[in-house]
Symmetry: C2
Subunit: 310 residues, 2 copies
């Protein structure tokens, strides 16, 4: 019932096998299963790349439209329209820059998702190895129940299980930490773009009030534009508000500050589980790959600055 | 000086000829000049189509990402992650729907710009005709200063000038009215998208707090997810706030309510300039082409509704 109320794709039940068939699946479809663990997230990361491309494109087109609007306004030989269209253009450019900044922030969010995917990829061999040994034991028990090799294999299995236990703990630790971090960033970026674009759009609406659209009769001459200073002031106000902007977000709680570079709680490692944790040597920490997800502050406000500096 | 402080393209001075060369330009480059009047706006309308396409694409990708996130969360076999990722997915879907709604609103804004372009196109022949007759008179005065045809041409010129006077008045009336209308709509749509996405993103951040990212040691079992009801409540709150959303905009003043379907001030026409206005028969009113620029209310909130109905 709850399933229909989610965005989960409908054919999911066919993917989720009851645990009792798990080993059998691995025997026959090991290659498929290996790809499976990181496949879904890898696809999501790819789709996110397309979304980011769309925002970059929207930002680029907006900048181009801003400049075209200004040029068109000038070509009308109507000084009111010329001035207002140029200043609307400045605000639209800034709105376009905000789309681009949003795309850059999404890129940071995307690189956090990659850290989860990397850990998924690095955990897979540990799962496979454990299952392969268990599988060999099963076969040998059937073919040669008294083989001395069984003892060696049982010892290997214990070690493989210990290693996998670490790998799975690392996976859940990194996954939960990074999901929170990634969507914290994603939602913060959404709010930042929204708040800044609201500032720009509201001042844009103020500008429109300086364009007198009272109809004229043939032969009437339009009054010269009398609101040049007012219009400039609108841009100055927009620039000021944009510079004053600060994020005001409810914090997302983080409980994973004790997560060490080995992806284990750092105190616990010190308190004696280090022997288990040490078996995790081959599970590379993917943290080093990250660029720090700080918000970019690129060309922000430059259109307004240029337009209001005098 | 002020030019450098705008978004106007730098080579504009080469476009803007001093008025004294105007006639000469028309003689030699009439075809180019004819295209000129509506060319700039036609290009802007085309670029805006690309921008709209980018937003549609961003919305589509966001919907796809939302569903992929939910599926991935389920595949982790972690019930906390499964529940939270599905609900983040619902909010992301709604954010995607808002991108799409924004694109539809931009489409309406774009169709208002088309009305200006159509008037520009329909005014061009009137300008051309007036210039052509003036041009013929010039030539004839040089070649046959006593030609009786000159009298006829002078009469034609007076009629052409009267017609053009109407056309130019119509053009300035429709242009100023529609620029205000178009950017009123554009900025209102920007604010609507922003305010709604802020609602969704803020609730998204609340959801993240229900995902416990305290690291575990190998062998630890994660606690069952205890915040199912809280997470559902977040979606219900988001849905409620989205439904309660109302635009709260400072109005853009409109002075062109007296603009008749002949693009003249309707009272003025009645008061006696009707003979002049009537010559405007061949300047088609482009207003009939418009779809009314009301805000679309499409599938908005459906993801949340589905997810919170129980």
């Amino acid at each position: 019932m709850q399933r229909a109320l989610s965005v989960r794709s409908k054919n999911k039940d066919s993917h989720k096998d009851p645990p009792k068939h798990r080993l059998q699946m691995l025997n026959s479809l090991r290659g498929v299963e290996r790809a499976e663990l990181s496949r879904r997230l890898a696809k999501l990361i790819k789709t996110e790349n397309h979304a980011i491309g769309a925002y970059e494109s929207a930002g680029r087109e907006r900048l181009s439209i801003a400049s075209q609007l200004s040029d068109w306004g000038e070509s009308t030989n109507d000084d009111s329209l010329s001035d207002i269209s140029d200043k609307i253009g400045v605000l639209l450019s800034e709105i376009g820059e905000q789309e681009d900044l949003f795309a850059q922030n999404l890129e940071d969010y995307r690189s956090i998702l990659k850290q989860i995917r990397n850990t998924e990829q690095s955990v897979q061999p540990s799962r496979d190895n454990k299952n392969k040994i268990a599988d060999e034991i099963q076969k040998l028990k059937y073919k040669e129940p008294t083989s001395p090799k069984l003892v060696t294999l049982e010892q290997e299995l214990v070690r493989a299980e210990a290693q996998n236990l670490v790998a799975e703990a690392q996976l859940t630790n990194i996954t939960r930490q990074k999901v929170k971090e990634a969507y914290d960033l994603h939602f913060a970026a959404t709010i930042e773009r929204a708040e800044k674009q609201i500032i720009l759009a509201k001042h844009g609406r103020r500008l429109l009030n300086y364009l007198d659209d009272t109809p004229v009769v043939p032969g009437d001459v339009r009054q010269p534009f009398a609101h040049g200073n007012d219009a400039r002031q609108v841009l100055a106000d927009a620039e000021h508000e944009l510079q004053m902007w600060q994020p005001s977000l409810e914090a997302v709680e983080v409980n994973s500050t004790g997560l060490g570079s080995n992806l284990m709680p750092s105190e616990e490692v010190a308190r004696g589980t280090s022997s288990v944790a040490d078996t995790a040597g081959d599970i590379a920490s993917p943290q080093s790959e990250t660029t720090s997800p700080t918000h970019h502050k690129p060309a922000e406000g430059t259109h307004l600055e240029q337009a209001t500096a005098s």
